[in-house]
Point group: C2
Chain length 206, copies 2
């Protein structure tokens, strides 16, 4: 009775904003929370940049449609969904993720939301809730799932900590140093092995 | 920020035990909670019948592999997954559902579990939790989803009541009479329209 919660960007697909920046040539869209630490200020800035460049949701989706899942991600996710239940838990936005979810064969996605105007202008955004990844973990535990969580960075750590097993995939060095309790994997074959080990342990404990 | 929780048997695929009874010719497997009201007694009886007929999990899965989703179910579910997030919430068992989930293109499934022996004998079963369908609804509401739930019968009613919108699909007459608060649909085109209406209402209220 277990479930795997997996991050999206950096784990199954490349970072979306960085790719949109590269493919549109709008360098300012590369800004991250490393540059502007207040997420709300950062997001308002990003939406302002979209307006300044007259980019509507259709334009951004067209750009995102040209992004492909990471090499091996589709096969990995196929395997994972044949082994156990899976939910993709992401800080990205519904309309951004859409084209990528199709390429991943439509796994269930829990994410955040964009507020659109009729003409496709991105007017605002909504978080489903604060610290959403951790709360999804708690909700799965509340319905008696044992939870394996995987992610690549800081925004995944509260989820990994709350899970019955947390695994890092291609994390930056500072995350590895700060959270030595989580196994570190860099290849899909490695994370498959870690997930199998975790599921076997959780099944034994059940 | 909404999600649809949908029952499996009677809504997307035919009743599994009844089909196994038909296709194996073992009439006793047709027994339902209408015949034996205590679910645990019924399940123990069913597992005993499997033993008596030397049916292992592989045999049952072979039989279940010959069952197809209801006509129009795959297209309906494709549409639903393109509109919103979906979780199939079922009282069936993981190993029984497997072959059918492939035919439904691997939606996320929250269900119950079989305990297998090494040789494939079905030794026992486990419910993930009592009144599991209602608890899944509560868990989704706890992470700020508005929930639309759909099902066909008594075992779906606590889920439909707990949801922000509940819809019946091809229910028996007594369920229609006992729970007049839920819209009744018999075609996928009808339930699509009811779901769209519910999602629009919930989005307006958000």
């Amino acid at each position: 009775m277990n479930i795997v919660l997996t991050d999206l960007e950096g784990v199954l697909v490349p970072e979306i904003w960085i790719n949109v920046a590269e493919r549109t040539g709008i360098e300012e869209l590369r800004l991250t929370t490393r540059d502007i630490s207040d997420y709300d200020v950062l997001m308002k800035k990003r939406l302002g940049i979209l307006d300044d460049n007259n980019l509507k949701i259709q334009d951004i989706q067209d750009v995102i449609s040209t992004i492909d899942p990471m090499e091996g991600a589709v096969e990995f996710l196929d395997w994972l969904r044949s082994e156990t239940q899976v939910i993709v838990v992401s800080d990205t936005f519904d309309y951004f993720a859409g084209p990528l979810m199709k390429k991943l064969k439509m796994p269930t996605l829990f994410c955040n939301y964009l507020i659109l105007e009729e003409n496709g202008r991105v007017a605002d955004y909504r978080l489903r809730q604060q610290d959403g990844k951790r709360h999804v973990t708690l909700a799965m535990k509340a319905i008696n799932f044992k939870v394996v969580a995987m992610g690549d960075s800081y925004n995944d750590v509260t989820m990994l900590k709350e899970a019955d097993a947390g695994i890092l995939f291609r994390p930056p060095e500072n995350v590895i140093e700060e959270f030595p309790q989580f196994p570190v994997t860099t290849q899909y074959s490695e994370i498959k092995a870690e997930i199998q080990k975790a599921l076997e342990r959780l099944n034994r404990e059940a």
